[in-house]
């Protein structure tokens, strides 16, 4: 591996806890130029597929490319929107139904920028980041998830 400057790391092992989200929100209370935050959370659904219930998703990624893509998407968002802060976290590994696997957090002076940017980030992540998910059923069988 080279020692070039690494982009900020997005991937975390395991689910994203509500406490982590609270801590992240709390860190922004000193930034008194912020007027609006928008937070998107992706939560694993217990979908029923052909009579079987999804109990969780096991996430893997082509990690180096994915972190690079996250970095590019962050840069594009900072370019496009007038943001004070931006944070993205995505889970890897097995995440149970009901747990949170994606946390996108944008902050701006005004609401429209925060909301537009959050939506942009979520759509870019879904479309362009090489993350893969195995939907595991209660009987341990599985199928590969595809984003719609």
């Amino acid at each position: 591996m080279e020692t070039k400057k690494k982009p900020k790391k997005v991937f975390v092992q395991g689910a994203i806890s509500p406490e982590k989200i609270a801590t992240s929100i709390g860190h922004h209370q000193v930034k008194t130029n912020i007027g609006a935050h928008d937070i998107f959370l992706g939560q694993v659904r217990a979908d029923e597929i052909d009579g079987k219930i999804v109990q969780g998703i096991d996430y893997t990624a082509y990690e180096d490319m994915a972190e690079q893509k996250f970095h590019e998407i962050r840069e594009a968002a900072f370019e496009k929107f007038d943001l004070t802060c931006m944070h993205i976290y995505h889970s890897l590994g097995p995440i149970k139904a009901g747990e949170i696997c994606l946390f996108v957090f944008t902050s701006s002076k005004h609401r429209a920028m925060a909301m537009d940017a959050c939506r942009f980030l979520v759509e870019e992540i879904k479309a362009n980041v090489p993350v893969f998910g195995k939907e595991i059923f209660e009987d341990e069988s599985y199928q590969w998830k595809v984003n719609s």
Partner: protein, 79 residues
Amino acid sequence: MMLDLKYLGRIVEVTGVSNEQIESANKMDLKGLRELLNQRYPNLKSESFQIAVNQELKSDDYLIDRTCEIAILPPFAGG
């Protein structure tokens, strides 16, 4: 030149391995690589995948002319 191949997600179930190296004597575009892979793993024909060269998605007319990392990427499912 050496092609350092990485298979991701459901593609690994077709190839049985997640990494392998292929030595290629000639330049090759990604269309050619797809044909090579389909011969090596006939079940790949029914899989949908994109190809990244050195961690960037490239189209089928992209020419591989030097040693590089090539990733075979099934549909994304992030978020």
